[in-house]
Symmetry: D2
Subunit: 464 residues, 4 copies
């Protein structure tokens, strides 16, 4: 460990302490200046002289506002701090008349909304970053659908993409030695498989075969941005109930070294950072961390839900013209209305081929209007360059798992050497790279002609 890190550690002590200090309010002018006045002052020459104090005052004022007053505030931001249309017109005309570097820069300046500078100055206040991120969450809730929403949201997203650039994020292991204030946020933010209190949390963090990692930003010191939960296993698991909920293994019991890292839950934490992508980086960096810590790990795979399969299937069944659902399918699927099908091995066995075949279709052939798969989790992992590796029958028999995915779970495989190729196949052609096992579940081979499936994928190793 380089020593100068410790110098930085002191730095950050100072940062945190700065959060408590405010400039004398005397600097801010009339005490009861309204928030719109403060916003305008921040962007004015006064903001240049005493921006820190004005920003602090504005944020304090904002915190005390109810939803209606916040709405008024956002309207000011939307309306008064947008680019001047006349200036943009003039600059656009000038560029059209004489295209070149100078007129381009002028046009760029004209279209950049003063909101960007507004938020940059707002961030002068100690501790402001977290509050500005929370403002965007408010924006979603308060202004959505109103005129100006898109433009304000776009400006905030644009700024956050710079501020929360992955180069500024810090990967941090979360374990039983993490401060409670962070751990309770892990409990709260877990979005995939709910954590049932502190003992369940400990079950996910403390055993030697578990890992959890989160990204943090130096200016949001007690707020994880995104986190992933990992189990180290001997095989690729197909059932989430094998990983969570059970008792912890006895610590002393000697066990063989794991070969597989299973990413079984990944949760975004900050609604205000929606659209700023962290998951891709998080998974890949955690793969690196784990590979460094335990070089014998060979397989990096997810165990993922299929959150929109049931909904899609309902529609397909209801759609009389959908050729993919046969009459035999409809008959079999009626069993799903019997809440006891799961406990009746015969019923379950009878449903299995129907559901697996339709799930293979759902992943491999069904398409959203943007010519991508329907399943949002599939879109995320395929976009990252993972491969659809296995569809697991009765993978999640929780109420939620049955309701959303008829109990199915999916493994996506991250193979470092294929990630770039997989990503490009998906990004360029919308191709779903899948194992032979998954493709074999399809009733009919993919249509030939301009195949959705890259021929190269056909020779990919089958794992199922």
């Amino acid at each position: 460990m380089p020593i100068n890190v410790s110098f930085l550690q002191d730095l950050l002590t100072t940062v945190a302490e700065q959060g408590r200090q405010y400039l004398p309010s005397a600097l801010v002018g009339p005490q009861r200046e309204d928030i719109g006045g403060l916003a305008r002052a921040l962007l004015s020459g006064r903001g240049e002289a005493s921006g820190v104090a004005i920003a602090r005052e504005l944020l304090d004022r904002y915190r005390g506002l109810g939803p209606d007053d916040r709405k008024v505030f956002f309207r000011i931001i939307a309306e008064d701090f947008k680019p001047d249309p006349d200036a943009v017109k003039a600059a656009a005309a000038a560029f059209l008349e004489a295209p070149g570097e100078a007129t381009m820069l002028q046009l760029r300046d004209a279209v950049e909304s003063p909101r960007q500078e507004f938020f940059r100055r707002l961030n002068l206040a100690p501790g402001a970053t977290a509050e500005i991120v929370a403002m965007r969450r408010d924006l979603f809730r308060i202004l959505k659908g109103e005129p100006g929403f898109n433009a304000v949201d776009d400006d905030m997203a644009h700024l956050f993409a710079s501020w929360f650039n992955r180069g500024f994020l810090v990967l941090r292991r979360i374990d039983w030695q993490t401060p409670a204030v962070i751990l309770e946020k892990i409990i709260r933010y877990e979005a995939v498989h709910e954590i049932q209190g502190w003992e369940d949390l400990r079950r996910r963090l403390e055993p030697a075969d578990r890992r959890c990692f989160a990204f943090f930003h130096p200016s949001l010191i007690d707020e994880p941005l995104i986190f992933v939960e990992v189990a180290l296993t001997r095989d690729v698991p197909g059932h989430i109930q094998d990983l969570i909920g059970g008792p912890a293994p006895a610590a002393s019991e000697p066990r063989p070294a794991p070969s597989t890292a299973v990413f079984y839950s990944i949760s975004n934490c900050q609604e205000g950072l929606r659209g700023i992508s962290f998951g891709n980086f998080l998974i890949k960096q955690v793969v690196e961390e784990l590979a460094r810590e335990q070089p014998q790990l060979k397989t990096f795979v997810t165990l993922s839900p299929v959150p929109t399969f049931a909904r899609w299937l309902d529609r397909a069944v209801a759609d009389e013209g959908a050729r993919i659902v046969t009459d035999a399918d409809r008959l079999a699927l009626q069993m799903l209305s019997d809440p006891g099908w799961l406990d009746d091995p015969e019923e379950a066995e009878a449903l299995k081929p129907t559901l697996l075949a339709l799930a293979a279709h759902y992943f491999l052939q069904a398409r959203s209007h943007d010519n991508r798969p329907i399943d949002p989790v599939a879109r995320f992992h395929l976009g990252n360059g993972a491969r659809l590796e296995r569809i697991n029958w009765l993978g999640d028999v929780s109420e939620k798992g049955l309701r959303e995915g008829h109990g199915l779970m999916v493994n996506y495989l991250y193979e470092l050497k294929d990630i770039e190729r997989n990503h490009e196949a998906y990004a360029n052609d919308g191709e779903v790279v899948a194992s032979r096992g998954v493709r074999a579940l399809l009733r009919s081979p993919p249509r030939t002609g301009k195949s959705k499936l890259d021929p190269k994928a056909l020779v990919a190793k089958q794992s199922d």
Copy 2:
């Protein structure tokens, strides 16, 4: 100290360690891909899948390049990664035809140069931020004056303004307990009064009446961005040689509590961050820090050089039509050509009224083409809202002080309650707020009519 800071301290240990890890080079593709190819790959879909690795590879490649190859690289950046002129034309025309939120956003997207995304992706690599800042320094040295320079520089400056937003900076005291790797940079970067090695540095940092503070960025852990040196005194000093160069006072000697904090040197450290303003924030935050630590401090003042006075005076003397330089002045100023004038009390006494009167003119009445004072140090402090408090005869008798400012030094006073008003007077009207003592040095009262001097300033407390 809040404990979760210590959690963050761990975070940053991790950050620093990340700097050492690179993705397997297998991810990068052909080993000897040229830097232009890497740059294009980074912006392509491949950059989405394995941006971290490509960015790392590109930075490593860059480090190995000589000036000529770097020039080639910058030309690629300038030429290939600029906004598409046709797309801008189309978007400009569309906006002119139907001005509105949607066409505005499209126009904004069209004019944003791909360079911004390029540098954001480059920053994915661990430790990249410092290298990207250094790239801009190279840009100044290599591409300046060439076509495309302005646009590339503008994009980098724009991005850095977001990245190095004051909200992300950390104020840090520099003292004798700071790591040597930082201290040697303080020696190297000191730009006002050269530090003569480690003992001189210790003289400036260790005594109980000295302070030094710097801004750091969490991603540049051993590089100060800007720092200021402070002496705590009983009076407003007029002579730099009273503050530096002498022996340190004996530690045991009891001394009265200081009333005055003197900012006697402020230095920017990162050429690549030129134009990103830190000094204003630094001074104000240090004022706050000191006021908190030592509440009895009442006066916050600089002791500053006058770096362009001698050059201005030469021109004024040479300009026969300049009414401000009288024949008597010219006669007196001839003494300056005698290198011994300083040691001859009579000569010095004879020069004093002439130089002080001309210096008052230089600060208060002479104007640059932008209607601001000529002196760059004055522009900085007046722009921050400080007041020109005192002009000091024989304030700096070093070779440099005599050569540049004929030995004069200036105190600028930071009075918190006046900062906003002073700043606005300067920003809006170019007014130089000065003490009565400084104004009294002028030979003729400021012209009436549209006075450069705010009447309010006339009643300001005189300190001299």
Copy 3:
């Protein structure tokens, strides 16, 4: 904060990492050497050459032993590593013959048991300190009552008194930002008022009016040694149920600044450190910390249990000759056998004067065989220099509080200016310094003649 602390912070990172490293086992010699052989090797010349490795091996071996084998180990320590009786005899005789500095030093060397050096060498192993402390806990459980127990225990206690000298301890605030691994130990070690899980813990740590502090030792990084829980209040509370168990106050609710710090629970954590006194130092340092943080705090007081009152009372009632229990008392005390007395205001009211008078006697006049009060909590706080301030009726109506103290609780007052005098009165004369209010509860004034009560105490400020 002094920077070199951060240097030390790095130091300690290194310490913790050292705990993971072991010397090559090749250094240790025959792999299956028994623990007695290792112990002897550690004390021999081999221990000088490779003590770290032998100590590590011995501790690993010890960890794997069952109680019987550990007993064997302790017998070796007791028997083989005691001072050589013949050498002591010779040195004693030599001293008696020629008393002086030299013979004194020889005698001292002869009586120092080799166990001391044994444990010092055992502590060479990384992470050993915690294991050696745990060994003493085993000693209590395994060897107690056997020959040699006293001598071994005495040696360990003697060594620990040096190792855990208060000058090496670190006071640390425990709050909601403390790592979970520490917090769960707070739950586990709380010995006065049981903590009912994580939400109860949060209730005690997180509200703005709560504090918790612990002592740590740098070599036992995740083990608190002792901790105290504090509530900040407006008055001296008399009822523990007002402080714990209720819902947390709303954070936003503005409240007057507290005037009183109430120490309502103090728990030792390490059985192996029994007899090494920390509580006195902890309370006094926490008083200092709180006085610095909140200068308006004026009163530092405990709310303490009376753990042996009920037992003492039973005996006093049973002792027919005890004049202190009157027949009327016996009649009243019969109500205690009715489990519903607490809910019957009349019964409770009838009991109150009896129990308070007897409690006053219990504290002020009853004496243990060492002429000190019977109550162990009273002995602790009076020994620290506190004053018995108030006896609270129905102070703890939990099952435990009723069973042990008939519901009574006591406030001990720590008044800095009186601590030294109070301590000496107690230490020299066994005097119980008490408020006038407590003394007024006695049925008869303290006997005159050689009073147990210092006359000075009679003029002490009354608080009740």
Copy 4:
């Protein structure tokens, strides 16, 4: 890195801050109590109640004393705080009458001097440890030779052996990122090869082939206890001037991985800890650290001075009866009086065999009165289990090297697998384990009969 370290890091911040806080002086009693009175108060009941404050006051008072007053203080410690001779006599007699565990413990208590408790209580004050260590340095300077010195010194040494047990020490790398306040102490404390200012220091710390490690104690945060300087090389070096003083190698220059770690300087820093042994542990732990960092390192060796060779040789030459110095030797050695012999290759060549043979005798056969080698550096490394590997001609041609060792330097080899055996041979029999090369320098083979040389050593691998 385990997170709870960071919790500890906070701990230590607190420790350091504690150093600044003192109890209200009101606690201490009469303001101008003399230091003897304070010392007695600390050991009395008052010390139990307010030991922290009294200890602080005493240390402050001590700091203000001149040597004479300090002498008075030490006499009080020596005389008034020694064991009570009558009590010791009684306990000695009681033990002789009835030897057993109980009388042994009583005797032990009687002979333990109250000084031990005095210094333990003195250590209650924040920051006291460093001041108590410094007191022992004063003791050496002020009381040495006086009655009572031995006893006081012995008590302090005994206590320090517990306090500074190796288990509490922290190994820390010292490099260019270490705080300046530590680095200047490295410059000051270097005792073997003087460091010529900051640039020389940097030369020893910064290059990739250099290491420096120190032991620290958590309560002496900016004071190294002992440090060692290491060079990583390809061969076992014989000349110190090859390692220090030259220019640093260019960083970019690629070099083969080193195979050898050379410990070329080891310096104790705290005179007050004289006799508390750290060097043995330091070298062995640094060997481990380096072996972990660079597994290709195969050889761990010193390059050490021969500080008493010249003095010994003078005596041997002067001793007419010393058979080891032949007449031819005496003739050759006369050349040493010519200051230019070093520059005259012929003279040097002529001297070489004589000096090497006599040096071999000095190391292998000459003995001190305790039957150990004469050379203190040899005693240290041989006692650690190292082997005398090579005697280097013209190893140190500095003024000091020539004056003390006639330019010779020595390599001691640390071979982990032999350390224990070497140590025992040395510790039990005074045997000097040496390479065949060194032994071959002897003029006559070691005497047979009861050989000083273990026959096993004769088959040791020869390295020269």
